[in-house]
């Protein structure tokens, strides 16, 4: 479809051979060297962090993060017949990438809602696809379709709930989730302990079992639950309440008064 004109594009205003050019100007543009993080395809960060990646039969070819040395590989990828195990491996890789993105986007800056929604929708598609997928011949990791799946629901739900409570100043947090005493209390965005809890849950750490010991699993089937990682900070508190005094105290510390 793309057919570059050989002589240069003919502009409608000036009939003739045309072409585009940069007029002479005196001063060079201000500013230093352009930021060049050298981001070419395939040279990005590895999948899912430093822990061992799941090895599927097609992993070496189809997943981003590996340097593609030969353009033939891309053609091969396009024509690849997806075996169930290969497809599963691909989907799991996408899942890890997506969860990694969610973690990394929680920071001191207000997160992009558009990005979160798009990743969320992609996660939901992946979750649906993984549920429908037949069980793989080699069980890649025993916990994957079990507990990780349920906690995936927890995360997907909690991501947007978090955004709601952290970004919206006019409305109280919706649908307090947990029966375990969380009430309306939601940890603030850049909570390192929360991030730690999240990462340990999804990146296959050995601490996964220990993490769930504290939680009453009977309630977990119906509603996703999280152990509050820290004294919760209610962002919508009434003056005079315990939370208000707590917040006041924090403000004093921040402002150094």
């Amino acid at each position: 479809m793309a057919r570059g004109a050989r002589e240069g594009w003919a502009s409608p205003a000036s009939p003739g051979p045309g072409g585009w050019l940069r007029p002479a100007n005196r001063r060079p543009a201000a500013g230093g060297t352009p930021a060049n993080r050298g981001s070419q395809l395939g040279s990005g960060a590895g999948l899912g962090g430093p822990e061992a990646r799941r090895r599927g039969p097609t992993e070496g070819i189809m997943v981003g993060g590996l340097k593609r040395k030969h353009s033939d590989l891309e053609e091969e990828e396009e024509r690849w017949e997806w075996s169930p195990a290969g497809l599963q491996s691909y989907q799991q890789a996408l899942l890890r990438i997506s969860l990694d993105k969610v973690q990394r986007s929680l920071g001191p800056r207000a997160p992009s809602l558009r990005r979160h929604v798009l990743i969320h929708n992609t996660l939901q598609q992946l979750q649906a696809a993984l549920r429908l997928a037949p069980a793989p011949a080699l069980p890649p990791e025993p916990l994957f379709l079990g507990e990780e799946d349920f906690s995936l629901s927890a995360t997907i739900g909690s991501i947007l709930r978090e955004l709601d409570t952290s970004m919206d100043e006019t409305e109280p947090p919706q649908n307090p989730v947990a029966p375990l005493g969380l009430q309306n209390e939601v940890p603030p965005q850049p909570d390192p302990v929360f991030l730690e809890a999240l990462s340990s849950r999804y990146l296959g750490d050995s601490g996964l079992d220990d993490f769930f010991l504290d939680i009453d699993t009977s309630a977990v089937e119906k509603e996703p639950a999280r152990a509050p990682p820290e004294p919760p900070h209610n962002l919508f508190c009434a003056p005079g309440s315990w939370e208000w005094n707590e917040l006041d105290h924090i403000m004093e510390i921040i402002l150094g008064s």
Partner: protein, 387 residues
Amino acid sequence: SKNQVHRRGEYNVYSTFQSHEPEFDYLKSLEIEEKINKIRWLPQQNAAYFLLSTNDKTVKLWKVSERDKRPEGYNLKDEEGRLRDPATITTLRVPVLRPMDLMVEATPRRVFANAHTYHINSISVNSDYETYMSADDLRINLWNFEITNQSFNIVDIKPANMEELTEVITAAEFHPHHCNTFVYSSSKGTIRLCDMRASALCDRHTKFFEEPEDPSNRSFFSEIISSISDVKFSHSGRYIMTRDYLTVKVWDLNMENRPIETYQVHDYLRSKLCSLYENDCIFDKFECVWNGSDSVIMTGSYNNFFRMFDRNTKRDVTLEASRENSKPRAILKPRKVCVGGKRRKDEISVDSLDFSKKILHTAWHPSENIIAVAATNNLYIFQDKVN
């Protein structure tokens, strides 16, 4: 200065000013970046220029004006501006205006704050020149230029339960002639046209533009790449143009079920979507522009490439904005991306493209063939070759 002969296409810096400062929202423990998301000019009504600029949360109206005279000879103030003791004044004089070196000053005239909970992605000046709108991810507000402490909410797509949120507003624009009409685009690739006369809260659209999905192209990334990053009315007001990740589409306002034209910006990226998702490039928001006569459209791509599509001749061209490839007065050479097979001498292969060099912002002069192209931290201005 305006009195000098204007050499076509040759621009110099006129004024530089800091529009926004970073802020910290203590209540939510969030930083608010000073980064400007959009700038829009107001139509010129006197010697001064007015523009709106916005970051994620606050819109500001700036006046940029020239000053080449200053008053001298005050009675009550001395040369440094200090007040004089009236008892020491024995004569009176009339202050006079004396010429001074030209100074261009920017002053903030209005600050429109505290109306957006989410990030502002668009601002659009209405054709009545009295109002404008600002859009964030979930809401669109209507402002009067004279009133800063109040705005009207005209679109609200926030669900009662945020967990049900699946779609956000990505861009919005007023119709160029009908001050009651505007459009907004979404992250699901849809465009809604609204008429403010229908109701105060434009919850129900007058028109709904969406192209049916191509089932053969379906993937996990279908929704992300359908997310519209920019929407622009044609100057005529008859068409709208939308930019999604891989294409530019032109829609006729009278036909809602599909665009009348679709242009492939960089279709060779379709097989790389997983990598582009991983390195976040798939979330890049490219803008698109019409030329003055609505016959050509332009948008940016990667590797400092930008693309132009002639709607009449159906010809397109890829050009590059970089110092090495554009000496002053040299005609830009068309570029070509090699998508497979043998790479010809002047072509560049997809894997050699630099994805950190992205052209997200471009502008076309309203009546001349002069374009501005932003490449990272350099601004390029090109004009067409005049015989």
